[in-house]
Amino acid sequence: MRRASTKVVAAGVLLVALLLAGVVSRFASEDPDGLTKVSEDHGFADTEKARDSPVGGYGALTGVLGVLVVLGLAGGVTYAVRRREPSDDQS
């Protein structure tokens, strides 16, 4: 069996991430997450200092934007620190 090329795998992962953020995210549960719920039940939810999101929180479009920003940042950092000569770098 011919193996998928790295480009195909990378494109696949990106496509899945974009679909999750841009489409599947609308089906996400609106209920508070574990910590938020525990903070409500234990009476310390009001100690939270909330603030506004510059992009208006998570939505299909902002989710896709977030995916691309994270990809650019993390891709840039890991590209910058990567090993340049994979087989004989012991320095």
């Binding site: 193996r3 998928a4 790295t6 795998v9 990378a10 992962v13 990106l14 899945v16 991430a17 999750l20 953020a21 599947v24 995210s25 089906f27 996400a28 549960s29 609106e30 209920d31 508070p32 997450d33 574990g34 910590l35 719920k37 525990v38 903070s39 039940d41 234990h42 009476g43 310390f44 100690t47 939270e48 200092k49 909330a50 603030r51 506004d52 999101s53 510059p54 992009v55 929180g57 998570y58 989710g63 934007l65 977030g66 995916v67 920003v69 994270v70 990809l71 940042l73 993390a74 891709g75 840039g76 950092v77 890991t78 590209y79 620190v81 990567r82 090993r83 994979p86 087989s87 004989d88």
Partner: protein, 232 residues
Amino acid sequence: MHVPDGFLDAPTSIATGAVAAVAVGVALRGARRELDDRTAPLAGLVAAFVFATQMLNFPVVSGTSGHLMGGALAAILVGPFTGLLCMATVFLVQCLLFADGGITALGTNIDLMGVVTVVVGWSVFKALQRVLPKRLSMVAPTAGVAALLSVPAAAGAFVLLYAVGGTADLSLSSLATAMIGVHVLIGIGEAVITGLAVGSIVAVRPDLVYGARPVLEKRELVVRTTAEATAP
């Protein structure tokens, strides 16, 4: 489990920030050994995937949801040091762009959902890999178990931090019971998503999965100088 501003006092937040800064520094150095021609192209994508998946809250018990943390997943796909860099990037963007997680709590969130899940997830994964049969089919289930345990570990670490610097006076034992209880359930979702994601890439390109390399090397009887001993 993003900690907002206000849950932990200033000294604790400063301390967790310092720990996060050191951890990211260590990860920047360590990632160099992990990132080669095979892992480097995927690292940014793994971070993007974790970010997308963290948007998907799934219901766990009535009125409570959870989402993937992703530290175990990232560590197994691209290595623990690179995985932590991916996680830190996700929390930075969530904090600054989405106000998800407090600014003073950024270090706390990197520590809890990055450092703890990466260290616990990767340690459990490597320990299990040592005792389980070295087969490719074992990689995804092993990743799932590691992911499952990493989530209540992060919740437990939050309770410890709250014991040190929580801003409200409450029963720590009931906080621990509630936090760890609900996060065991969230961990099941974490296990399923991690197992599926790792299994999908193992199915098409096992050599791209950092945590699958020891298995591949044994199977193919190829000595690769790139993958040095991965003892933790």
